[in-house]
Symmetry: D2
Subunit: 454 residues, 4 copies
Amino acid sequence: MCGIVGVYNHNHAAILAANAMFAEQHRGQESCGIAVSDGKVIRLRKRMGLVKEVFTPEELEKLHGHIAIGHVRYPTRGTSTEFNSQPHVVETLAGPCYSLASNGDIVNYHEMRQILEDKGVYFASSNDGELILKYIIYKVEYEQMSIVDAIKCCMRDIKGAYSTVLATRYELYMFRDPYGFRPMSIGKTEDNSFVVASETCALDIVKAKFISCVNPAEIIVINDKGIRNIENDPNEYRTVDYAQHCIFEHIYFSRPDSYQFQEDVFSVRERIGVKLALMDNDFMPDLVVPVPDSSNFIASGYANFKKMPVTFGLIRNHYSGRTFIKSEQSIRDESVSHKFNVLPHTFKDKIVVLIDDSMVRGTTIKKIIAIINQAGAKEVHLRLGSPKVKYSCFYGIDTPNKDDLISNRLTIEQILDDFKITSIKHIDLDSLLNCVCKPEHYCHACFSGKYPIE
Amino acid sequence: MCGIVGVYNHNHAAILAANAMFAEQHRGQESCGIAVSDGKVIRLRKRMGLVKEVFTPEELEKLHGHIAIGHVRYPTRGTSTEFNSQPHVVETLAGPCYSLASNGDIVNYHEMRQILEDKGVYFASSNDGELILKYIIYKVEYEQMSIVDAIKCCMRDIKGAYSTVLATRYELYMFRDPYGFRPMSIGKTEDNSFVVASETCALDIVKAKFISCVNPAEIIVINDKGIRNIENDPNEYRTVDYAQHCIFEHIYFSRPDSYQFQEDVFSVRERIGVKLALMDNDFMPDLVVPVPDSSNFIASGYANFKKMPVTFGLIRNHYSGRTFIKSEQSIRDESVSHKFNVLPHTFKDKIVVLIDDSMVRGTTIKKIIAIINQAGAKEVHLRLGSPKVKYSCFYGIDTPNKDDLISNRLTIEQILDDFKITSIKHIDLDSLLNCVCKPEHYCHACFSGKYPIE
Amino acid sequence: MCGIVGVYNHNHAAILAANAMFAEQHRGQESCGIAVSDGKVIRLRKRMGLVKEVFTPEELEKLHGHIAIGHVRYPTRGTSTEFNSQPHVVETLAGPCYSLASNGDIVNYHEMRQILEDKGVYFASSNDGELILKYIIYKVEYEQMSIVDAIKCCMRDIKGAYSTVLATRYELYMFRDPYGFRPMSIGKTEDNSFVVASETCALDIVKAKFISCVNPAEIIVINDKGIRNIENDPNEYRTVDYAQHCIFEHIYFSRPDSYQFQEDVFSVRERIGVKLALMDNDFMPDLVVPVPDSSNFIASGYANFKKMPVTFGLIRNHYSGRTFIKSEQSIRDESVSHKFNVLPHTFKDKIVVLIDDSMVRGTTIKKIIAIINQAGAKEVHLRLGSPKVKYSCFYGIDTPNKDDLISNRLTIEQILDDFKITSIKHIDLDSLLNCVCKPEHYCHACFSGKYPIE
Amino acid sequence: MCGIVGVYNHNHAAILAANAMFAEQHRGQESCGIAVSDGKVIRLRKRMGLVKEVFTPEELEKLHGHIAIGHVRYPTRGTSTEFNSQPHVVETLAGPCYSLASNGDIVNYHEMRQILEDKGVYFASSNDGELILKYIIYKVEYEQMSIVDAIKCCMRDIKGAYSTVLATRYELYMFRDPYGFRPMSIGKTEDNSFVVASETCALDIVKAKFISCVNPAEIIVINDKGIRNIENDPNEYRTVDYAQHCIFEHIYFSRPDSYQFQEDVFSVRERIGVKLALMDNDFMPDLVVPVPDSSNFIASGYANFKKMPVTFGLIRNHYSGRTFIKSEQSIRDESVSHKFNVLPHTFKDKIVVLIDDSMVRGTTIKKIIAIINQAGAKEVHLRLGSPKVKYSCFYGIDTPNKDDLISNRLTIEQILDDFKITSIKHIDLDSLLNCVCKPEHYCHACFSGKYPIE
């Protein structure tokens, strides 16, 4: 995951960026950073931790400037260190003058890095944002290319998912890979600041009005002459005819109040719930219970279709943080009872439909089912808002090794037995794709194994 | 508010206490502390901050012992400093050997403190927990009273609300004021540890089975001879015939998955929702929307009765923390947009019933209504799960000065005008009391002005 | 070692104490602390580190009060932790109301601690200051003794060296063990503040005029009625007829500008130098070089007697701190080259008399000699201002185990061979004692093995 | 002042550098830094504070590499911030690949900085080291010059004092301004590491043998082919025929055990003492007392000539650190009594010659004289090892504004009166210059106003 933001033309660009990043905090809690330009120099602050911890009012005050880019990180490539956090900055004799933040994952990272290293380019991190930045700036500084041309070269050479913001001392660039894997939207505030973000909920928090998505392969530049969209045909760079949006953004990643890939996320989820309900025409549950909060709208769709209420039978403790004990295994055990508790006297002798968005390793849902069984449920029917996850993602989602995926490890029967539940159903891929308007514009490699890029 | 916990007979009593406190974190986020005894000496750690910040595994390891008491603090009396956080410890030549944590508020604090100070007793804080502790230990150390007798004296002399745990080096005492204002329950784990807590959700998290409430005026001692309940007639100490439980625990304070004052909290809330729905037989809303998360179950009650779904039209950002900007006024403005966002395309031209638990100052709900109006709602009807709050609480709730209460400042018509809403209704006191089994056992001074203690 | 200070009747007693402690910093660099009373409560701050690090202006401002006691610690008994640092404070229901700091070492520590522990007294440290404090306060609080009587009991029961200050909330007590092992002087400032300290240089720094030493077994009380000396015959408590001052205070511990045991320290050292010069009537050195700074005045005495100048051929780097490398052995190697360098072109082909105050383990002096030899010296004659150190000290000096003392490990011939020097001479004990006015008033157990207390 | 070091060809170059910097700590205590290259990338650590505080073993371990440069800073140009501390590093797409540390002061700083800024070069600090580095790297990166040629250009364009080390990822360069204002020596260890430093005492501490000074305008390169001295005639760059070494290095700055400008520093000081003694043929003092430690050898010279001993009547407390109190004025008052105390019973009725190296503002010496007078001295004769300081230095010494110099503010008579002393004498400039072998090779602008560069 990860989330990016960009701000142009605001006196306190860093404060706007921090607000937008706070709205995207669910996309990454490991580290965060803001780079800001005042027209003369780029200042950077990045640290491990949450946005509100890293960016106190005192720190934000030091980041003067009218252009800002920001990033919240969920670790994909590279270890958990400040080095691998974003944005990255490139310094020359002219000072720190380019910075970049990107959301996604590069498929040919090692190959491209080697090519640049052979030319004498230095890498401080193993993060793909740095690769994109160094690639572009190498073209600009050593091959006298314009930034726009360098970005076009990048789209040709660097394969993978990237929704990217790049700030120079004077301009803000934004662009998205030709497949459009990760979302990216642009908005404008009443006082004419431009804001770009991974999710529209980040535009909402700073009261920026949604203008449009950044299209696959599109390059947008904002500078003191205004905003300029550079036409750039994505089909020149890709082997498929359509965009390949990540379907998981709708199922799980994006906030329900975001508008992604031209869909209301919560509506897609409600439609998924309806599809699941349609599969259950053979029995009537007593309770429809979501695993909060990610599955709430899938459960609404299911329950509304069944003309019954959603029961919030699992109470989630939103105070988070590390575990109290040290041993590795205990950590995982503790983490579920820390997060969820059951409503008293609610599950006793009930037929429960338990709704979750997806099942990857299956460890958490197994423990949730255990506490529901312990609460006396008669039957537990697990319904999942996504097909079986059978393949790793190489475009920005942190999925485990194929062998650790429960759908590759166990049959449905084995899972029923292991989890001690009555039934389990996944939405099928066709039904899922029917929940969005343009099914062919989506990547579903994690379910189907059909990877748009090798 | 505030929350307390106590643990007896566990090898890692401090870890159990920390877990239980984490489940009570919603009752106080300002500071927290644990005092632990290993039979020889009492160790204390308390700090400003959340339980998971203050009690890292490293810190918990240092707190060996089989008896622990803990406290999470929401500031009532006393400034926000470590001094005023709890537990308190009393030291003598025999070392640090008594510690105490209490939830509530003392009415005759200044008078009682003066009496003790005149006898040479020192106070390090202005916190009522310290008063109770010093009072009891003075009786024990200087008047050779037993601890149980000293607690009985305390019930006679010290007026107010207190649900209290007291640990010596060998024993754990727990007791509750004769009115039983604040909740307190006791449970037992499979391996025979006793756990006492403000809420049963704290028993659940450590897998302790609920045994019973601690009754008003009851004193319970646990030591190596087992658990002993000391009969103590509350009517000897109080001027009313019944307990005076805080009705606000059901409306707002307690977690919905707790069982308080012999009621399931979420059920009381659903009943409140039904009462509110019964008041609206003159129109049919398009959407029933709770202010999450405290009003979710009131909204369920309302919507279920109306045979319509709850719409989660307000999305709450659970990542919290300080504001990004410094100026006082801006803080409050930012805080609402930081916490809540509307679902896109949901409110447009809709008749909305907006459900909240209570209205104290009215500042937050006003801003929430503003963003709903901005989202295009046709009508907004505000429904409140509590009567008008017109009086300050002196028994443990941090209510503002009477003059700041919106119900004392504005008439309903003025509020409609100020908030720009169509209608506003509070549940009436009788209906509210009908939602619990024993209405006469509750304190409702904040609504009625009928204070059980002067 | 260690150093103590006390201040009575100054608006900023803690600042005066900190200044005095800074002047005594050479007596202990491990930790330091100040306890201060404002007449109502005693506040304590103690930490590992130097006085100027621990007591910033901000910290001193928090320590209001007109009575202060302070301590700088060089570790003798107990591990290097804050617990073992001084002053200690005793808390009762009346608050933190007694505090004490002591310089010295208790011989029957374990026995006395056991007696008190059997009576239920708690010990937080393994430091002898705490033993003295708890002993006295036990007598006061549980046996209703006056403080003065309790101190007298202490002198009877607790054996060893102690120069002690004790502050209550209203009074300052000071007393010294019946043998007077460690120094302690009292002075008065122009604005009528009393200051007590281990060394008179600490009186000088706060412009307090020296009044007198605190005599062996003497007890002095200062309160709002003035200063009162309680006559107390030391012979009632000791088995020898005279005081037993530590002769090493003159040789090494005290600062040369202090006036200790009725002698100017620098003068005693110069006399030692004369005695050493008298032993060398058989050759004329080219250079007389002290190991700076502790041996400077011994070298002056030697050189002046010989009518030749002192040569400061070893330059000392006064910036101190930890080593740059981790391995244990390397630390010691580095530490000498870090501290000392030779003047260039000075030692070449010269007959050098190298003067040091004492030789305990012999490791440092060996390395100093090596760099002098490397600088081309023709002959090196080592002269030592103290006799052979052959016995451990139990009265406050951190001497190593007997077996580690070089004088017990090697013969003079072996040392000459090992150090690669021409000759080595110690002052003999009689000559040393002739350097002070009252030889029989000194303890020289580390040289002679004659311990005044078993 | 400030001090620089450079290390080439050592496995732990940073540890060697830290040791050498520790020996130069007297040249600057404000901040310090080390940049190290492992052949691939340059790592930098710089912080406010002393060498031993900033460079713990843990920090040094992170600085792997075989080339290191280091700097200790005494603030001259620029405010006291980490930005202005040295070394500086220049980063390009090839990573952080040039670093530089310099000791001195640039006369045409503003002019040269403007020229570079006009070309787009960015300055992060207002420190002259950064100017030299950016100047050279601009020539190298944008004008394709060799580093050696760029340094030669620098000598032509940049006017002032600089003894400089420059490290690339592979090589170590060192060079000195054509006037040779500040010292710089090179040495070699037994295991073939090269070490360069401001003072030879820094070579001693790492057991490097002195090879030679770096000559004015000389450029030395060390790389894997060995050491190479580039001949470079200083007269091409300067308007005077000789070097212009800073005479104050001998009087005060350098450590007495250093060999600077082909003189033993302590010997020059002793010769200064002799000159002062020659001026006092009209009376015989009782005591010759230096202000320790900087004037010790001047006093030796004086006393030895008079055939009398030096008396160390002022004892210096070497534990340093901030003051204990906040108010500005008090700070200065406290600082003298904190640093110096008098020996007891020593000054009474004595004729004292007090020796100091120089008198700039005169504030400290005035307070020292006050405590000597208070100790009962009959006469105090102040003798100063330098002529009257009447002009500001622009080549690396932090002298105050001309108007604050005591020699410009008061006549000798006024000083006698103000200080309450009997006589005062400065060495005259000719006598001072006679203390060194090549008088015409020295800058004495601060005394004479004859500035070698405008």
